[in-house]
């Protein structure tokens, strides 16, 4: 996994609550057996005017000019600003894969659905939680200043505005932070405790043999 330390990027605002993972990446793209290539189909039903199917040449499809990620000012955005309960619904990790594949490194919202939040950390994508009013302020700032860039410092747990005037502090679990800062492979970390797992398992299956 790519480590996340400090990131500066353009912010794109997605001003609606309860954005679900079906909207982030529609079901027809879940038939892929790969982890990559989902970026062009991120928010497919909102992003294009036609009906998306796997295997299309997405560069030739008609784009919806009203959809915010298609606006010229947000091209190259790597930070998505969103509203409450972002990523609700299905557990599909294709949602963070699509966001990461489309160039996003971080999200800022007042809240996320649990499974989606968890999935982000597995893919080097940092989901930052700020308060409703802080998120509101950022929505105003993004609309007021074309090309607004923010700097996210994971070590310091802070989001900085370009003028250095404001810093928004955020919380993150120490263990998740540690893994993301170092780009750790969770599985390798867990397997370092293989003996403990084995001992636990032997005892458990011995006491409750119907679980074997």
């Amino acid at each position: 996994m790519e480590p996340f330390r400090v990131h500066t990027g353009i912010v794109a605002p997605l001003d609606r609550a309860n954005v679900d993972t079906d909207a982030i990446i529609p079901k027809q793209f879940l038939k892929s057996i790969k982890r990559s290539g989902f970026g062009p189909n991120l928010f497919d039903a909102w992003r294009y005017l036609d009906r998306g199917e796997p295997g299309q040449d997405n560069s030739k499809r008609p784009k919806n000019p009203d959809f915010v990620l298609n606006h010229p000012r947000y091209q190259g955005a790597s930070i998505l600003l969103a509203r409450r309960n972002f990523g609700c619904g299905s557990s599909r990790e294709h949602a963070p894969w699509a966001l990461a594949d489309d160039g996003f490194r971080a999200l800022i919202a007042p809240s996320y659905a649990d499974i989606f939040y968890n999935n982000c950390f597995k893919n080097g994508l940092l989901p930052i939680v700020l308060t409703e009013s802080e998120v509101d302020r950022l929505f105003h700032a993004v609309k007021a200043f074309p090309g607004l860039r923010l700097t996210i410092d994971l070590e310091a747990q802070a989001v900085h505005t370009p003028d250095g005037q404001h810093a928004y502090r955020f919380d993150v679990d120490p263990f998740r932070k540690h893994c993301l800062l170092n780009g750790h492979d969770d599985i390798a970390l867990t397997l370092a405790h293989a003996d403990e797992i084995k001992a636990f398992e032997t005892k458990r299956l011995g006491e409750q043999p119907w679980l074997a």
């Binding site: 609606r16 079901k27 038939k31 892929s32 039903a45 309960n85 990790e93 597995k122 797992i197 119907w210």
Partner: protein, 472 residues
Amino acid sequence: MVSRTLYDKVFDSHVVRQEADGTALLYIDRHLVHEVTSPQAFEGLRLAGRKPWRAQSIVATADHNTPTKDWALGIRDPVSRMQVETLDANIRAVGAKAYFPFLDRRQGIVHVIGPESGATLPGMTVVCGDSHTSTHGAFAALAFGIGTSEVEHVLATQCLLIKKAKSMLIRARGKLPPGVTAKDLILAIIGRIGTAGGTGYAIEFGGDTVRALSMEGRMTMCNMSIEAGARAGMIAVDERTLNYIRGRPLAPAGEMWDRAAAHWRTLVSDPDAKFDLTHTIDAATIQPQVTWGTSPEMVVSVEDRVPDPDRERDPSRRDGIERALDYMGLTPNTPITDISIDKVFIGSCTNSRIEDLRQAAAIIRGRHIADNIRLALVVPGSGPVKAQAESEGLDRVFRDAGFEWREPGCSMCLAMNDDRLEPGERCASTSNRNFEGRQGAGGRTHLVSPAMAAAAAVAGHFVDVRRLVSRA
């Protein structure tokens, strides 16, 4: 001894070790696997040169992509076929406790076949790359959905890194009125606490209303915990739980059963256990529910009207209502019973079990679907559910009424196969999500109980099923 909740008991008994910040390494007993969220995990395992830790924990099936008719023709969509064949190959390579592949007579929706085969047992930790894994909590299992990276993590280590959730008790009291089901109860709960109401929590459903529910009804409740934002929903063990499990193919038998059952009976919250949050619901006041919008929390009773955004003061909520009404093609203040529908779907991991089909058939019997219904589908949750329904003659009841009787699978709940809504089509659906495009791009979903879906099929529009019950 400190009083503990059911969630405390199951969680704590699976902790292998704990990090300083409370992150636990949690042992996983049962790993359910389906074709959509597993291929990248198996590939990751192979690329890293790792082997599954305990293949005997795996129970697998193909359900999301599989067609529900013309099985003799196989899977015609080559992309879907590739995904199902990849699962076949992966399970062949690593092994499993049980595998119910496409065309097997015990194949079905993963959350139906788990309990049905006895693969889901009380006190287990159960995971699957699918958010509706919460279903299995009806058996006092700690069951929750995970992403594909975590599927790989469980394959490789038999564990997950997870922090303990907060605990919520939803206590339902009183008797559900006739014609009102577990589906209406859970929809009403979601309407009250919202789709993020349970975020960060594991929910326990309790109270005399829940105790009186069948295991099918309890599964429907736990299934939709995730629609209330909670990864896990749980219900304590009682005799009904044990009666359901006894004799299932993968359940213990003989002396082993007695030992297991004695342990399982302890899987209840202690009387004075403390929950972080408690909600109390008066079940007797609940009416049949119908969703009108594009989130499961956008729900009203069948006697109500479509909401008016002008009455919502919160601008972000008003915006959400307006957007949903626009997508759904609905006018504010329209009576729910004036909404006519094009298609009916009875199925999904929420409502495709035998009791669901019986409830729908009881409404349909001797009646016919309305002329404006283009398609009415019944998709049983599994091969055994289908066989049971056929032995009771339910397939004839549905067919005679104009329904199509299909093969098992996820089908039009998420429309990964050919069963889907066309743009603008409106559906009465017993599934769990009414998101934009969920049942097909541009499709409009109204979530209801099986009985309400059946009643809507007969009337051609939503109708209070209690009127048909009293006439029946």
